[in-house]
Structures are given as structure tokens and as C-alpha cells.
Amino acid sequence: MTMIFGIPLQAFLGQLLIGLINGSFYALLSLGLAIIFGLLRVINFAHGAQYMLGAFIAWLLLSYLGIGYWPALVLAPLLVGLIGAAIERTMLRQLYSLDPLYGLLFTFGLALTVEGTFRYIYGASGQPYATPALLAGGANLGFMFLPIYRGWVIVFSLIVCLGTWLVIEKTKLGSYLRAATENPVLVQSFGINVPFLLTLTYGLGAALAALAGVLAAPIYQVSPLMGSNIIIVVFAVVVVGGMGSIMGAIVTGYLLGVAEGLTKVFYPEASNIVIFVIMAIVLLLRPAGLFGRDA
């Protein structure tokens, strides 16, 4: 058997693939975070809660209305997006003119509230959500057994990430959005309805988080805590990628997913801090992040 760094090549490939799957979640989440940050200058601490909300809505739809995975994949992000938009309209909006730290604190409070509420109603141990029948089972790739659902996660998240990136970097809408972050009043004086754009953006970011949540539901336990566990890691991903860089967020998401996956093989104890260590190194060498523009 071919060996690589002392472990069989097959196992190595398997772990690489698994890292990529994890990376998909990091990428989706950091993408949404980067969009919201890039355009609203708000660190969306509620991103984890919105991710959780996506998964929970999928579960609620299934258990109370019998609505399955596929419709949920559309409905949950839509709902969370609308909720996000409403929050932006009524509350978050008032904070743009202030120091960005207030946005951070507000969304932090929001996250506590949402998670607290779900924990209060549904408890902490989580809810079951089955893999959709169409994607159940697995495929033997020769070097590993790949659950089909996980393959789907990789493919689908890649499509979503690239699609979002295209919209923001390559369309007129995207350039409005980017300009509006810097000087909303001026952009508005050009005749563009900036308040609406910002609402849209926050809604979009929240919807992306929720989408990741629905994708995660069949893999991870649907629990009120699922968001707060992952969000800090995603923050680190965004710092490494360079905040405000959409492509940076995506690529770094996948890269760090893989880095973490490989650490789980070679030195599992460090797998939870490897991302933070990478972050520290990147900060030393490239303070603006791997893809960030100089501040």
C-alpha cells in the first residue's frame, strides 16, 4: 500500500475529502459573514444563530407540517432571510452611522436571544433530522465510503459560493452594494435606494447562513447550540481570508477545512486550534489576511 506521511494513501485521500466537506460549511458561512461585513461593516455575531435557525426551521417544517428536505432547502433560507431583513429594517439600520462595534454587540445580543429562546423551548440536546431519501446511502470510492449526502454538500455549496461571488463582484448590483458600504449617503444621492439594498444584503447573508444550516441538518444534530460552536471558528476563517474579500472567504473556507481535516489525522488533539494557529501565523506575515486588501 502506498504510504504518505506514515499513513496509507487511501486514508489520506479520505481525510482530504472529509476536510473538503467541512470546508464547504466554513466557506458558506464565512461567505455570508464576509458579505454582511463587507457591505454593512457589521460583524454578524448572529450568523451562528441564523445557521441554527435554518436547520431548526427545516426540522420544524418536517415535524409540524410534513414538509421535507427539498422544499426546506428553499423555504428555510427564504424565511430566515425575511426575518433578517426585518431585523435590519427595524433595528440594525440605526447602527450604521455608529462605531462598528455596536453592530457587533447588537448581533451578539440577538444571537443570545435566539439561541436562548430555542434552548428554552426545545432543550439543548437536539433534534433528529434524517437524510433525504434521494441522497441516502453511500458510494464506495475505493479509498473510502462516501455518504452520497456529503458529496452533495460539496457540489451544492461550491455552486452557491461561486454564484454569490459572481453576483457581487461582477454585476452592477454588486458595485452598488460595495459603494454603499463606504458612503451610503453619497450613493443614495446618486439616486440609488441604498436602504433597500442594505436590507437586501443582510437578508441575503442571513439566508446563506440558513442554507448552510439546512445542509447541516442531516449531518449534525439539530441543536440550539450548533451555531455558537462553529461561529468562532468561522470568524477565524474570515480573519485569515481577509475580511471583506468575498473570494478570500470562500477559498479560505475550503483551505482551512482541509487543513483541519488533515490535522485530525496527524495530531487530532490540535484540530480545534489549528485554525487559530494558522490565523496567528497569517497575522504575523500578512496582517491584512491572505486575500485582504491593505487596510
Binding site: S125, P128, R150, Y220, V265, P268
Partner: protein
């Protein structure tokens, strides 16, 4: 007789955090049931139960415990989920000469180096879980093990204890992998466990970590592949959250199962009516602890701590939770534990009908020999 015209019991646990399902508000309900079953009065004075949510913060717990003891005439505190809280409150109880009965926390320290003459450990501990799952499972043929261990003291001690019992019973431990606390993805670790070829994959972790690992094991077809999953700290409440589809075939140890016999089923149904869920060992244990405490007061004829503690040590425990339970000098309540297997969805006949009892582990085997515990109260 009772010192201040009433007997007051405090149920102090996590009601809004990670362990809220484990015990939570339902433990309070269990305590109320015990008081009602006892008749609501002891030595002619009313029994009152108060409760507080320590939010998993030892400082809040310690504050409340002190205030309860000092200004609110609380006579004893029970439940005490989370080991840091349990140890902190036990230390205060010892200092204030008050009784505490822990049902929610797992650490053997409570009846080990940090034991108290007035402190009792009632429902389970890491040792009994290890013996139950490790020892008993080997006898059932699961003789080679691979551990998925949460990377902190609790995980290590579960792994070590269990591993010892596996080896003692003639099994082997082929490997272990340590994962960080609160990992979301276990597939890397599961793949390593899978390729180890071990017959049993022991999950030396707790809470969401265990749930996620089990769920993902199902996804990777590990149980279908012939390996067995054994969770070292997992209860009915969490199996309910996971669903039978994902949890089927899982082996675990609990000190109580509601569908064990007629009496327990009756208790379970009553509990269900009040809380909406079936009791796990923490709930039933709390019920038993309160009941036993009241019995001890009655026997002692006073609620004075020394006397009650003496009776608690002396009286046998015989209720729906424990049959022929005894209390060791270090405060450990010794009773039978059960090795349970989660049913397949089609085997389950009614809601909450989740477990098959694979084996009963006699209390003497399940719990540590007090002489080995390191508790200085044990005269050897």
C-alpha cells in the same frame, strides 16, 4: 424535631444551558413528586422545595447555595449538575454542615479526595458507567475496543476506566483518538475507528459531542458494517433527541430505565404526565434522593445535619430507583446499573420505548470500592 418549622430542600441545577435536558426543570418536578409521595410533611412540619438555575456557573451556584443555607433556612441541596458546581457546593455544604446529594454530576472526586461527611452521590458516576459499558459489553462479545475520547479530564477518565474494565475482562483496546471538546464533525475520527477494525467504538464524551458522533456513525454505515457503538455517558433524554433511526444499536449504561418493570413504568407515566417526557437516571435519582432524605429525617426524628447524615448512611435504599441500595462511608449510594441497547425503530412499541436491557450490573461491581476511593472518611 425540625429546627425552623419546616424542611426545605433546594434543587440547584442547569435549567437553561447545555445540561438543561439532562436534569433541568424536570428534576425539580421529580423532587416535588417525592415530597408528595412522602405525604408533604415530615415530623409534622411541611416540606418545601425551592429551585434555582445555576447557569453552569460555579460562582452563581456557590452564591445561591450560601444564601440558601445562611438566610433562607434551606436544609439540603440536591441534583447539582456539572462537576465544577457539584464540587463547589459540596465544599460549601461541608463548611456549613449541611447535606448535599448529587445526582447530576459524574465525577468520582465527590466521593473521593473531596468527599464530605454530609455529601452523597446518588445516581451514577464515571466509574459505574465505565464498568457497566466496558465490563459488561466485553462479556457480550465486544472484546476489542477503539475509543473516541473528548480531549479533557472527563474524557480521559472515562476512557481509562473503561479501558481497564475491558482489559480486566479479557478484551483489548486497539486504539484511541482524542477529539477536541465541541467538535462538530466526527467523520475523520470515525473513519479512523472504522479502519481500526475494533468490534466496539467507545464514545468517551458527552452531550452534543456524543450525539453528533452517533449520528455521523450512522451516516457512514458503521453499525451496519458490524461495529458496535458504546456511549459512555448518554441517557434516555439524549436518545430521544437523536431519534431511533440514528441511535439504533447503540449501547449505553444508565442507573434507571422507566420500562424496566411495572413499578418503574408506573412512575415513568406519572412523570411523563407532569413533564412531557420520560425520566432518565438523573430524574429518577433525584426522586429517590429526596425520598430517602425525608425518610432519614423521620428516622432521626430531627432535621439536624449530623443525625440525618448518620441515618442516610445507615438506611437501606429501596424505592422505584434503587432496589437494595446501600450507602458507603464515602457517601456513595451503591445500587444496580443497567447495560442497555437502543432498539431498532420497528422494535419500539410505544413512545419512549427505546431500550432493551442487556444486563444488570450489581451495585457492588458497578461502584468503586470505598477503600480505594481516596476519601479520608473511609477507615481501612
Amino acid at each position: 424535631d425540625a429546627s425552623d418549622g419546616k424542611v426545605k430542600i433546594g434543587i440547584l441545577n442547569d435549567q437553561s444551558g447545555v445540561y438543561a435536558d439532562f436534569g433541568g426543570k424536570s428534576s425539580y418536578e421529580a423532587a416535588l413528586m417525592a415530597v408528595e409521595d412522602f405525604g408533604g410533611k415530615v415530623l409534622g412540619v411541611p416540606v418545601e422545595v425551592v429551585t434555582a438555575d445555576h447557569q453552569n456557573k460555579p460562582d452563581i451556584a456557590s452564591n445561591i447555595a450560601r444564601q440558601w443555607y445562611d438566610t433562607e433556612q434551606v436544609d439540603s441541596i440536591m441534583e447539582l449538575t456539572t462537576s465544577s458546581v457539584a464540587l463547589a457546593v459540596q465544599a460549601i455544604s461541608k463548611e456549613k454542615k449541611k447535606i448535599d446529594i448529587v445526582t447530576g454530576a459524574a465525577t468520582t472526586e465527590l466521593t473521593g479526595k473531596q468527599c464530605s461527611p454530609y455529601g452523597f452521590h446518588w445516581a451514577y458516576d464515571t466509574h459505574s458507567l465505565a464498568v457497566g459499558t466496558g465490563g459488561a459489553l466485553v462479556k457480550q462479545g465486544g472484546d476489542s475496543w477503539f475509543f473516541l475520547t473528548a480531549d479533557y479530564a472527563f474524557g480521559y477518565s472515562l476512557e481509562e476506566n473503561t479501558g481497564n474494565y475491558v482489559k480486566e475482562n479479557g478484551g483489548t483496546v486497539v486504539g484511541a483518538v482524542r477529539h477536541p471538546l465541541a467538535s462538530t464533525d466526527f467523520s475523520s475520527f470515525l473513519l479512523q475507528a472504522q479502519s481500526s477494525g475494533a468490534k466496539v467504538i467507545g464514545l468517551a464524551n458527552a452531550g452534543l459531542d456524543t450525539s453528533n458522533a452517533i449520528k455521523q456513525a450512522a451516516e457512514f454505515g458503521i453499525v451496519q458494517g458490524g461495529q458496535r457503538l458504546a456511549a459512555l455517558l448518554f441517557t434516555l433524554a439524549e436518545v430521544h433527541g437523536l431519534g431511533l433511526e440514528a441511535a439504533q444499536g447503540l449501547t449505553l449504561t444508565e442507573g434507571f430505565y422507566w420500562n424496566r418493570d411495572e413499578e418503574s413504568a408506573k412512575f415513568g407515566k406519572r412523570f411523563m404526565e407532569r413533564t412531557g417526557k420520560m425520566p432518565n437516571m438523573v430524574h429518577a435519582g433525584t426522586y429517590s434522593a429526596v425520598l430517602q432524605y425525608l425518610k432519614a429525617i423521620e428516622k432521626a426524628g430531627t432535621d439536624e445535619t449530623e443525625a440525618v447524615a448518620k441515618e442516610l448512611h445507615a438506611l437501606p435504599v429501596d424505592d422505584v430507583f434503587a432496589k437494595n441500595g446501600t450507602v458507603a462511608p464515602n457517601g456513595r449510594m451503591v445500587h444496580d446499573m443497567y447495560l442497555l441497547e437502543v432498539k431498532k425503530p420497528d422494535e419500539s412499541k410505544e413512545p419512549w420505548d427505546y431500550f432493551k436491557v442487556l444486563a444488570t450490573i450489581p451495585g457492588k461491581e458497578a461502584f468503586m470500592d470505598p477503600a480505594q476511593s481516596g476519601c479520608e472518611l473511609v477507615k481501612s
